[in-house]
Symmetry: C2
Subunit: 176 residues, 2 copies
């Protein structure tokens, strides 16, 4: 048994699809998640930064995020053998606490709430693995990091980068 810490946004919760959908609705654009790979909306439209920030700061923003494909199924199977913690940098969006908690309760009820962690700096996480879409979190983590492929990190490399939950499941299944 190993302990696997799992990030939320872009790893189990599809933050970006909603961000892009709301952006398109407001601006009459037709961006897609795949289409802007390697870029962020606020880089493409710096003049919209404040509007984007406002939308994702809405306390309900996180409550209806879609699931990342395969996240639930893979974690359900991994949880049979391993210890799963959800570790999210919620302090960047303090308005998100309640919606994030409710979302986890709704979709990941098989992970006990004592294994939810709302933090900022992820170097505080004591685990064997951290699955995260941000290099900056993996860099300070003391265990083995896994960079979870996401449109925004399309051009980033890392010693262990996995593409979707099937690959993540296979990685642990072959190893343990």
């Amino acid at each position: 048994m190993v302990r696997i810490a799992v990030d939320m946004d872009e790893v189990i919760a599809d933050f970006m699809s909603k961000e892009i959908r709301l952006f398109n609705e407001s601006n009459g654009t037709a961006y897609t998640k795949e289409g802007i790979a390697g870029k962020k909306l606020r880089e493409l439209h710096p003049e919209e930064t404040e509007n984007i920030r406002k939308r994702v700061s809405d306390p309900t923003y996180f409550s209806d995020l879609p699931l990342i494909d395969g996240a639930k199924e893979a974690l359900e199977k991994l949880a049979e053998k391993h210890e799963i913690f959800i570790t999210t940098a919620a302090m960047e969006f303090p308005t998100s606490f309640n919606a994030k908690y409710a979302w986890l309760k709704e979709h990941f009820a098989f992970i006990p709430e004592s294994h939810y962690v709302f933090c900022g700096d992820k170097s505080i996480i004591s685990a064997d693995y951290l699955i995260d879409d941000h290099l900056r979190h993996l860099e300070t983590f003391r265990g083995q990091g896994i960079l979870f492929a996401a449109p925004h990190n399309a051009h980033e490399t890392y010693e262990l980068k996995l593409n979707g939950w099937d690959e993540v499941y296979r990685y642990f299944d072959e190893k343990y």
Copy 2:
């Protein structure tokens, strides 16, 4: 420099004084924090358990808790040399997130919010020290635990139990 993780309730925030004050107001009793040392209100009045739970589940309960004596002064000095994280078992009171966050911002602004951790099981905390008033959290912590003396743990012993923030400050000052 070491990393010190610090619990909130009964360590920096005086949870129990407010709990006792509200209990006395509701029940015409005259309990004091010192007077019930080693006991909990819900042990003395099991029939009041639900009312106590309701009061502390109020989303605003945590917003005006008094400070534990000396906590701010000691942490301000310790933060000059060491890395301080606030690690609180907030998942037990999911209604408390916003009030706890606001309270920390108000009283401990010198600790960056990236160093706030809302968790459940504290074995997830990677730090050199954990200062906590609950033995159960110290037992699963992988670093050196410090049992912070509180009325409810008056009869409990631990390899390193310190009495108040002056003692905590002296412990680190002599050691580092």
